[in-house]
């Protein structure tokens, strides 16, 4: 066990740790910080989120048909509030805008564009629009059969699944929260990949440069020292991923998305996509977190393998460059992007991601990582000192 702790101590070199922390702060400031500062980005998204939270507290995570009628009176209340707010804008009456209906008419034209802009931002206009759109959507549920390209790309069984989602109870899960979640997790996954590569890259190169191999191999543990080193590396990858997830979770959860944790992912009253699984938002967050942790371990295993077969730091950094780009730049973000939802493989792609493909990809990465580290251990037995 003491060897394991010694290896951990070597991996968590203070200089490298400080470098990763500083880079992490810069990364957070440049990219994901935006999605905390603008959680539910824009007044329209904010209105949608506030309504979702309010209705979940009032009606529970789903909207039942008998509760639907109450929302008409809520809409009428909001319109009455708007009319009262409008009285506080003297220019509105002068322009012939006296109530919500006349505002909508004025909003259709370019005339008084500045005034309608001010009214929209100074009143509860966005709340009214959100309720109206949501009611229209609820009363006229999505018709997949009309979305030919999208729908016909899937097999009959998959199409059946998509149609089945329509029969689920209407969820209050907000689209704006899902968008913020999606972007934030993409950056979390990317940073996890980058930080794990940076932490583990020098691990096994260091021993080689210090020529400790002959000493290690002649010790009591012999060549099996590599097992301990790999175990320490994988534990470090997991530990760093857990730290990343925890640090990212604090500001994210402070925005209040967990108010919607019991809302089902599918058949939302807002325009959220179509999921493959009947999970709640809380379960979805847990699954995404699990995927990020698995990504951290998988990428850690690949990095350790590359580190094992590098003679010097630059050779290792050169080898880390391709995984840095492919894993950090593409794979990590792709695999959590609206994971477990029906969506195209990438923008403009003709084919769509099939059920559970994201989990399969992460599993393949884990298996590849395990195979590569296992192969390193086997090869170690046959190496000349």
């Amino acid at each position: 066990m003491s060897l394991f702790w010694q290896e951990l101590k070597k991996i968590w070199h203070p200089g490298i740790f400080v470098g990763i922390v500083l880079l992490g702060l810069i990364y957070y400031y440049m990219f994901p910080g935006f999605y905390i500062e603008h959680f539910s980005n824009g007044p329209s998204a904010r209105a949608e989120f506030d309504l979702s939270v309010e209705w979940v507290a009032q009606y529970g995570p789903t909207l039942e048909p008998e509760e639907r009628a109450e929302l008409d009176s809520r809409l009428a209340e909001e319109v009455a509030i708007f009319d009262r707010q409008l009285e506080g804008v003297p220019e509105a009456a002068a322009a012939g805008i006296t109530d919500y209906a006349s505002f909508r008419t004025a909003d259709q034209t370019e005339e008084n564009a500045r005034l309608t802009w001010d009214i929209r931002n100074g009143t509860n206009c966005y709340t009214i629009s959100a309720i109206q759109q949501m009611l229209e959507r609820y009363d006229d549920p999505r018709d997949y059969l009309r979305q030919h390209d999208y729908f016909e790309s899937y097999t009959a069984k998959e199409q059946e699944q998509m149609l089945a989602v329509n029969s689920w109870p209407g969820s209050f899960l907000s689209r704006s929260v899902m968008d913020s979640t999606d972007y934030y997790f993409k950056y979390l996954a990317q940073w996890t990949a980058i930080s794990v590569i940076l932490l583990l890259s020098p691990t096994l190169v260091r021993d080689r440069l210090r020529r400790t191999r002959s000493l290690q191999w002649s010790g009591r543990r012999g060549r099996r020292v590599l097992h301990t080193q790999l175990a320490a590396g994988l534990v470090s990858a997991l530990l760093l991923s857990v730290v990343n997830v925890t640090v990212y979770a604090i500001p994210f959860l402070a925005q209040g998305p967990l108010a919607l944790k019991d809302c089902p992912l599918g058949n939302s009253v807002w325009a959220v996509g179509t999921p493959w699984f009947n999970w709640t938002y809380g379960q979805y967050l847990a699954v995404l977190t699990g995927m990020v942790l698995a990504l951290g371990i998988g990428i850690g295993a690949v990095t350790l393998f590359l580190s094992r077969f590098s003679n010097n730091y630059v050779s290792m950094l050169l080898k880390a460059f391709p995984p840095f780009v492919t894993m950090g730049g593409f794979f990590a973000t792709w695999v959590v992007h609206y994971a477990f939802f029906f969506h195209a493989a990438w923008d403009g792609a003709d084919f769509f991601v099939s059920k559970g493909a994201e989990a399969v990809c992460v599993t393949v990465l884990l298996i590849a990582g395990a195979a590569l580290t296992g192969w390193s251990c086997v090869k170690q037995r046959k190496l000349e000192c």
């Binding site: 200089g15 490298i16 470098g19 990763i20 500083l22 880079l23 810069i26 990364y27 400031y29 440049m30 940076l198 890259s201 020098p202 190169v205 440069l209 020529r211 590098s310 010097n312 730091y313 630059v314 050779s315 290792m316 950094l317 050169l318 080898k319 460059f321 391709p322 780009v325």
Partner: protein, 381 residues
């Protein structure tokens, strides 16, 4: 020279370098493949107009009319017939107001912006005189292909060249420590001078790798994209435009560039920028003995500069922002608009060239000072 050759041979015998170089070229080929959606249109336009010259006049229009009738020919013809000299009455005032509106909290930055656009007005008048707007380049698809070549492909080549150049420099500077020969080599005054040769070897190696990457990538690109008839066309033709902060404007360049000259200028400046990055690596590699830590410090330096620029923009420190737009990372970021007015990314004409020149001077002095310090400090291995 013999020492230089030895240092180069150390790099040449690094298998990972050649492996990554090969992977970079494969990646660039994939990028070239990703531009396929514009290729047909570009090649078709080039095939129809290749022999007609670049200036759209009656001869060009007649030549286009004589091409076999097709839907695409008609589309090109209507585009060519609709061409006018956009520079004749181009009003820069909306652009000036837009950008000075952003930086108005800093009078100096606002004055620099005003001055830049005053100088651009002279260029607009000149472009109108030369009739650059009437150059075809390669028709309505020009903007997409130009941005694909410079914003995607050249950016990738420059990034790869810079990364490989920086890592090569770090490898050379850390070589003696890693091989445990530092104590012997650096024990004498002459031995310590070896570092100068290492820096020189790294500084020549970085642009060489970059040029190799650029040459192979561009050759593959030109194998699939027909540029034969477009080299002489002005890049300021009206089908080429730039978009900055959602505002579209013609491709105003600070000198008259044709497509060939512009490509050569971008590749050339890219080479100098690679040298700047290599010099930065030389400073870090000389001051920080541990290669991995020096790579981390270098990354922090580059990313920190970009973050500082963003911070200045967000907090309205526009003069600080203006100064930071000269840093190498910032120059690298707007590679797709080099030699143009660059909107909020530039405060003086030829900013990318001035930024690269200044960075060369500053990093050169920094490297000289770092080498001087290295020459005097105690050996630690």
């Amino acid at each position: 020279m013999r020492l230089l050759r030895y240092e180069w041979s150390k790099l040449a015998r690094l298998p990972a370098l050649w492996g990554v170089l090969a992977l970079c070229l494969v990646f660039n080929c994939l990028l070239i493949g990703s531009g396929g959606r514009w290729r047909w249109e570009w090649n078709e336009a080039a095939a129809m107009t290749g022999r007609l010259g670049q200036r759209v006049d009656t001869g060009f229009l007649d030549g286009l009319r004589q091409q076999p009738q097709s839907e695409y020919r008609d589309y090109l013809l209507s585009a060519a017939e609709g061409m006018t000299d956009i520079y004749a009455d181009y009003d820069l005032r909306p652009l000036v107001d837009y950008y000075t509106g952003y930086v108005k909290s800093s009078p100096k930055a606002a004055a620099l912006t005003e001055r830049k656009y005053e100088q651009l007005a002279e260029r607009v008048a000149h472009l109108s005189e030369t009739g650059a707007a009437m150059d075809w380049y390669s028709g309505p698809i020009t903007h997409n292909v130009h941005q694909f070549l410079y914003g995607v492909l050249m950016r990738a080549v420059l990034t790869e060249g810079a990364v490989l150049g920086m890592l090569s420099m770090l490898f050379l500077l850390g070589y003696e420590n890693q091989q445990r020969t530092a104590a012997g080599v650096y024990a004498s005054r002459t031995g310590r001078k070896l570092c100068r040769w290492k820096v020189l070897a790294g500084l020549t190696w970085a642009p060489a790798i970059y040029l190799l990457l650029a040459a192979v990538t561009l050759v593959v690109f030109l194998l699939f994209w027909d540029w034969s008839g477009v080299w002489g066309g002005s890049v300021s033709g009206q089908f080429n435009y730039a978009i900055d902060m959602l505002v579209r404007r013609p491709f105003f360049t600070w000198a008259d560039f044709n497509a060939g000259g512009y490509l050569a200028a971008v590749v050339g400046l890219g080479g100098l920028l690679t040298v700047v990055f290599a010099l930065l690596a030389a400073v870090c590699g000389t001051l920080v003995p541990n290669v991995y830590l020096s790579a981390l410090v270098l990354t922090l330096l580059l990313c920190g500069g970009a973050a500082a620029q963003t911070f200045c923009a967000q907090t309205g420190l526009w003069m600080g922002y203006a100064l930071l737009t000269f840093q190498p990372v910032s120059v690298w970021l707007y590679v797709n608009g080099w030699f143009t007015e660059l909107g909020l990314n530039a405060f003086v004409p030829w900013q990318e060239s001035m930024g690269t020149g200044l960075s060369l001077a500053i990093c050169g002095v920094g490297t000289a000072l770092a080498l001087r310090r290295f020459g005097r400090k105690d050996i630690s291995t």
